[in-house]
């Protein structure tokens, strides 16, 4: 029994590790400037995880293999209550490894979250609502028009409650897809109209909740032109699984052109670009 158990534990360990190293399923290609650092931290962590997992399972299997009861009445187990030296040793080693790992991981976090978006960033206001995304662009004047929930009118497609009386809202555009420039810092101002949603583009390697009553700012730089899927990753109700949109990363000149367009033209052009670009080729 002991040998069978040991072998099964080892086979499970081997298969689990193989599934991870097979490379068939992994992150989609990262397209944000912080993605390489984050992927590196992930790789380091998962190597530590893999080694610890394998070592523990091999050790467990080995004990089970080796120390079976022989059935002899006189042969007894080793009488030991443990070893303080070993306890200290493995406590210190694991503490050093785990906490080092945790501290290392903070650099990516600090770069992304502990500072403001650099000046000259491209700002988009993201307003989520049950099962739909709204992206609000400031237009030529680089000033977002005022919004207020009392102006929300689904009939006139004013989903974000843009205040028409505010002069800076005249050149604003609102679309259902996110359009951002390549190679330039982007700042998202995240808001929600109803419940908590979550902004999630796997290629960007970050998520952020959109919390009603709060405006949360995040910033990043995308460095590859293309069309990417954008999902809601916080349970927001019945059709949560369908709350999908696209993110278009465009060359700077396309963005400049868009910025000069009035709302209808802006939306039509975005639609055109959406049809033009293809999703990355996932196997």
């Amino acid at each position: 029994m002991g040998r069978v158990l040991a072998v099964i534990i080892w086979i499970i360990t081997l298969l689990s590790v193989l599934l991870f190293v097979s490379g068939k399923w992994w992150f989609p290609e990262g397209i944000s400037s912080h993605a390489p650092a984050l992927d590196r931290q992930f790789l380091i962590t998962i190597v530590v995880v893999g080694i610890s997992f394998t070592a523990a399972q091999i050790g467990l299997g080995w004990m089970v293999w080796k120390y079976r009861d022989t059935g002899s009445a006189t042969d007894r187990a080793v009488y030991s209550h443990g070893s303080n030296r070993l306890e200290v040793l493995w406590t210190v080693i694991t503490a050093v490894v785990f906490i080092t790992l945790g501290v290392m991981g903070q650099s990516v976090w600090a770069n992304l979250r502990l500072n403001e978006a650099p000046p000259g960033s491209y700002s988009v206001e993201v307003v989520a609502q049950q099962f739909q995304w709204n992206f609000h662009y400031a237009g030529k004047d680089n000033k977002f028009g005022k919004t207020d929930p009392k102006f929300i009118d689904d009939g006139t497609l004013n989903f974000i409650g843009l205040d028409a009386s505010d002069p800076s809202s005249a050149d604003d555009s609102v679309t259902a897809s996110l359009v951002i420039p390549v190679g330039r810092p982007v700042e998202l101002r995240l808001r929600s109209k109803d419940v908590i949603h979550n902004f999630w583009v796997p290629q960007l390697r970050f998520k952020q909740d959109l919390v009603p009553g709060m405006e949360i700012k995040v910033h990043f730089t995308a460095n590859k032109v293309g069309k990417y899927e954008l999902a809601c990753a916080e349970l927001c109700g019945q059709l949560h699984f369908k709350m999908r949109s696209y993110m278009l990363v465009l060359p700077e000149q396309d963005i400049q052109a868009l910025q000069g367009m009035p709302q209808e033209q802006f939306q039509a052009r975005v639609q055109e670009l959406l049809n033009q670009y293809q999703l990355p080729n996932y196997q």
Partner: protein, 224 residues
């Protein structure tokens, strides 16, 4: 490693555990009657009360941290005029703490009649406290301040209400003690110890509710 194979039998079924073995209990006891209550068992009422109070304290900590967080995050936080009658409530509950302490001490000195009397006085003061709180609530509602009026009023009703529920629980315990104190009692040490322990437990609880009220009152009064 020296090993020995012995012929000592394993315990047989139905042997009543240790008593079937030659001396494993080591206490030489051959009694077969129900257990005597070992010394110190009466302490469980005091321990249990403290443990329970830890959990009650946690709940009020969570509610009051919510109060503080909520007061800081919103623009809709309005100051609340705390009804004056709450100072009377505070005086009443402080007094009741004194009377229950008298009750406890009288019991310790075996003055059971005085004990019983002070219990009754404490319980009546507790009822008076609840009545005074109710007046405070009615004063607020007459001003048009309800639970949902604004967050400060929500917390006001919630905190005073939750405290009142706990006071009502204390009143039931007091009533139970009072009912028991009026009956005949034994002077068997275990019984005396148990009676004292339950009285101590209730008084610990009552003092705690007193302290909790002072804390809540100051929170509502000063943290606006």
């Amino acid at each position: 490693m020296a090993t020995m194979v012995t012929t000592r039998p394993v315990i047989q079924k139905g042997a009543g555990g240790g008593s079937g073995m030659p001396g494993p209990n080591g206490n030489g006891s051959k009694r077969k009657e129900p257990f005597p209550e070992p010394d110190g068992r009466a302490n469980r009422y005091r321990i249990g009360t403290w443990v329970g109070l830890a959990s009650i304290a946690m709940m009020f900590t969570s509610l009051s941290s919510a109060y503080i967080v909520r007061s800081g995050t919103a623009a809709d936080w309005l100051p609340l005029q705390i009804p004056r009658v709450m100072f009377v409530s505070t005086a009443i509950i402080l007094l009741s703490s004194v009377t229950i302490e008298f009750a406890r001490r009288k019991l310790k000195q075996s003055f059971t009649e005085a004990y019983s009397k002070y219990l009754l006085v404490t319980a009546l003061l507790g009822v008076a406290f609840l009545g005074s709180q109710l007046i405070a609530w009615r004063q607020l509602t007459s001003q048009g301040v309800y639970v949902a009026s604004h967050p400060h009023s929500s917390f006001f009703y919630l905190l005073t209400g939750a405290h009142a529920v706990h006071i009502a629980g204390g009143l039931m315990a007091l009533a139970f003690l009072w009912w028991r104190s009026s009956r005949h009692h034994s002077e068997v040490p275990a019984f005396v110890a148990k009676r004292q322990a339950t009285a101590d437990a209730v008084s610990i609880y009552w003092h705690f509710m007193d302290g909790l009220w002072i804390y809540l009152f100051l929170l509502l009064l000063l943290w606006r």
